[in-house]
């Protein structure tokens, strides 16, 4: 499986990439929304993990652009959230996000379960 991680934070880039690669997942990283959209088109990942709050182009703008593109729409997207971001999750789901993962209380098993659930549904 190939996952595109769109995340500006270097700590989380390393953290998630390492954990996913340890579990035999191919990981591509994009540091902002613009690069993320470009890599979604170029690398055709099986799934995207998307941060919402980023400089330059945030996760909401990525989701909105994805909605306008028939090819990108087919790629499932899971957004990262933190506690207190319930409104953001609602907004992301309205923009077509397929699931969300709590970034602050990291639980790898729960992350894998969410990824599997979203992949099965899509």
């Amino acid at each position: 499986m190939k996952i595109l991680l769109i995340e500006d934070d270097k700590f989380f880039q390393k953290f998630y990439s390492t954990k996913l690669q340890e579990n035999k997942v191919e990981v591509e990283v994009a540091g902002d929304g613009e690069e993320g959209l470009m890599k979604m088109r170029d690398t055709k990942p099986d799934l995207v993990l998307l941060d919402l709050i980023m400089p330059k182009m945030d996760g909401f703008a990525v989701l909105a652009a994805r909605q306008q593109d028939e090819n990108l729409k087919k790629i499932p997207v899971i957004v990262f959230s933190t506690l207190g971001q319930e409104k953001d999750i609602d907004q992301a789901q309205k923009l077509g996000a397929n699931g969300y993962i709590n970034k602050g209380s990291f639980d790898f098993n729960s992350m894998v379960a969410t990824i599997n659930q979203v992949m099965k549904a899509n």
């Binding site: 934070d9 700590f11 953290f15 933190t82 209380s105 990291f106």
Partner: protein
């Protein structure tokens, strides 16, 4: 929850945390000169949010809570729920100072 060895992430945590602190200090400096500087507020909001998330993962709850406060205040000001005044500026600066002290403590325990 699956156990994760977080020790290997401490250096990159400290490195990125210092970058966020620097960005927050620059934003506060810009806001001291112009309280209506939306870009500075936005940068303060993003930096505090990002540092909060990685501090939660690392289990540094004091820093996570301080960042959550900065994030809330900057978000309220951005959304015009509250205005910015000397009291808020002082609160924000004190919070950043406290985060710096916490980071120094964490670094010493390496």
């Amino acid at each position: 929850m699956a156990q994760i060895d977080l020790a290997g992430y401490k250096n990159i945590y400290l490195q990125t945390a210092k970058e966020y602190i620097y960005k927050m200090l620059v934003s506060l400096d810009q806001l001291s000169n112009n309280v209506l500087d939306k870009e500075a507020l936005n940068n303060l909001h993003i930096s505090s949010h990002s540092l909060k998330s990685q501090s939660q993962v690392m289990g540094f709850t004091n820093i996570a809570n301080l960042c959550a406060n900065i994030e809330k205040v900057s978000s309220d000001i951005l959304n015009k729920v509250s205005g910015i005044d000397d009291h808020f500026m002082s609160l924000l600066k004190n919070s950043v100072d406290e985060i710096n002290l916490e980071l120094a403590r964490i670094e010493k325990t390496q």
